[in-house]
Amino acid sequence: MKKVEAIIRHFKLEEVKNALTEGGLTGMTITEVRGFGRQKGHTEMYRGTEYAVDFVPKVKVEVVCTDEQLQSVVDIMMQAAQTGQIGDGKIFVSDLANIIRIRTGETGQDAL
């Protein structure tokens, strides 16, 4: 099993969600996050006082899937979240040790 975390642009969230749902995923978790990569931040000015805003707001989408689903999940995310401009975000893939459904106690892929 894999956990896929994608940092994406806010306005791409709806597209990514719809594409993943159509691709067969049944759940996801999103978080408002701030950070920077190559896009870097920007500066803001308030009555002549300048603030460098290093952390740009993004959305983090977390989904879990089977090893077989992984490639298609990544492809769907890539396609839906891409604009081609700097700041499109990144996808992190990691191994997942276990999943437990709280209601029934099912574990592993059964809990997906």
Binding site: M45, Y46, R47, G48
Partner: protein, 443 residues
């Protein structure tokens, strides 16, 4: 239905016959001229509206979210506190008697104030009943210390703020208000006044310079906020600030046009020049931001409008519309530099620019009043001249010295006795939780 109407008409005629004097005598008495009365009642409400929601929103949007209630509370609480002080002794110390420097105790507890205009002590405000003049002036007594709160925002103890406001109102505002408006030492044309006296229509010296320089001193004495210059101190909600500025703009019509103390041509002039100066200020600040940073800022435009309003305040009853446009435009540019450059150069933390806008804008307005004043607007006054500019500058000087010296003593006493600043832990958590046990925003 018809019967009822006939009945009430008959009843009305009956009362007319019963009290003919009371109904018809009023129209001849200027003291109860309903036009003047209506405008002054409206103006009083407009000036109160400036402190909250106007100033409360303008200021609270500029602080961090953990201090939003603290700042709103300062404005709201001062509405109550200063009004009580005003009724108990403030009004009397401002407008009682004919002393040169401060009023007397003739009107403590509002003694002798009636719906007439001939209470003892020859009160000003002849066009409306003394009671109305009193409440109109009381609204100025509220907003002036509230303006100072912008300088020590986010770190002043609530108790120290409240005590300071009472003492400051009593020992800075009252003497100044008496000298400028109570026919005292700085009043234009009063006997033995300083260099012939100065013009201050609605509070350039009394309200804006006094609060502005006291604010600067307070900011320096209390010290910078923790993390000033390194932490993120961006305004937490500029939408409040913009709406607050717009409310100030509207309220200012009461502040300035109400200062005519009548619904007359002087009020009309004040209304027009106030609006034009605010407009020019908003434009000029937006323009200078466009030039220096490439984008016209929203906070800048709001601040520019306020700078224009501050600048025209002393001049509203003395200058014509075109000079008012110039005054607003100059104020927008000068205050832009005062807020952006002065603070950075000297490193003080006037958190919400009480000095940069009110101190600097007020001084500019007082001086420019001496340049642009004309008898075409106020026939009993002077025309702009070098001599008048000098008299205006002298009044500014007196205001600055009085404000600085007395504020210094008051702040020093409070610092030694109860302390001005909240604990470091409280400052980190924010005024809302540390001082009031509440939060402005849940989640």
């Amino acid at each position: 239905m018809r019967r009822v109407r006939c009945g009430s008409v008959l009843l009305f005629v009956f009362f007319l016959l019963l009290f003919p004097q009371s109904l018809f005598a009023q129209e001849a008495d200027p003291a109860t001229n309903p036009g003047h009365l209506t405008w002054m009642l409206t103006s009083s409400a407009l000036v109160l509206f400036m402190t909250a929601p106007g100033l409360a929103m303008f200021y609270s949007g500029l602080v961090r979210r953990k201090n939003v209630l603290g700042v709103m509370m300062q404005c709201l609480f001062l509405m109550g506190l200063m009004s009580v002080v005003w009724a108990l002794w403030g009004y009397s110390l401002c407008f009682g008697g004919e002393g040169k420097f401060i009023g007397n105790f003739d009107h403590v507890f509002l003694k002798g104030l009636t719906m007439g205009t001939e209470t003892p002590g020859e009160l000003p405000g002849g066009e409306v009943p003394d009671l109305i003049f009193m409440i109109f002036q009381g609204m100025f007594f509220i907003i002036t210390p509230a303006l100072i709160c912008g300088a020590f925002a986010e770190r002043m103890k609530f108790s120290a703020m409240a005590l300071f406001s009472v003492l400051w109102g009593t020992f800075v505002y009252c003497p100044l208000c008496h000298m400028v408006w109570g026919e005292g030492w700085l009043y234009y044309g009063s006997e033995g006044s300083l260099l012939g006296g100065a013009l201050d229509f609605a509070g350039g010296t009394v309200v804006h310079i006094s609060s502005g320089v006291s604010a600067l001193l307070a900011a320096m004495m209390i010290g910078r906020r923790l993390g000033f210059g390194s932490e993120d101190m961006r305004p937490h909600n500029l939408t409040y600030t913009v709406l607050g500025a717009a409310m100030l703009w509207v309220g200012w019509f009461g502040f300035n046009a109400g200062s005519a103390v009548a619904a007359n041509d002087s009020a009309a002039n004040a209304f027009v020049v106030t609006h034009l100066s605010a407009s020019a200020g908003a434009l000029s600040w937006a323009l200078i931001e466009l030039i220096f940073r490439g984008k016209p800022g929203v906070l800048g435009t709001a601040s520019g409008a306020v700078a224009g309003l501050v600048c025209i305040t002393p001049a509203a009853g003395f200058v014509q519309p075109m000079p008012a446009l110039a005054m607003g435009a100059i104020a927008g540019v000068v205050c832009y530099f005062a807020c952006g450059k002065l603070k950075a150069t000297f490193g003080y933390d006037d958190s919400l620019d009480a000095f940069g806008v009110h101190g600097v804008g007020g001084t500019l307005g007082a001086i420019l009043t001496g340049v642009f004043a004309t008898q075409q607007v106020y026939p009993d006054g002077p025309n702009g001249s070098v001599q008048l500019v000098i008299a205006q500058a002298a009044a500014v000087g007196v205001t600055v010295v009085l404000s600085l010296v007395v504020s210094f003593v008051l702040l020093k006493i409070l610092d030694i006795t109860i302390g001005l600043r909240i604990s470091q832990e409280g400052e980190v958590r924010g005024l809302d939780i540390a001082e009031h046990g509440e939060e402005g925003y849940i989640s």
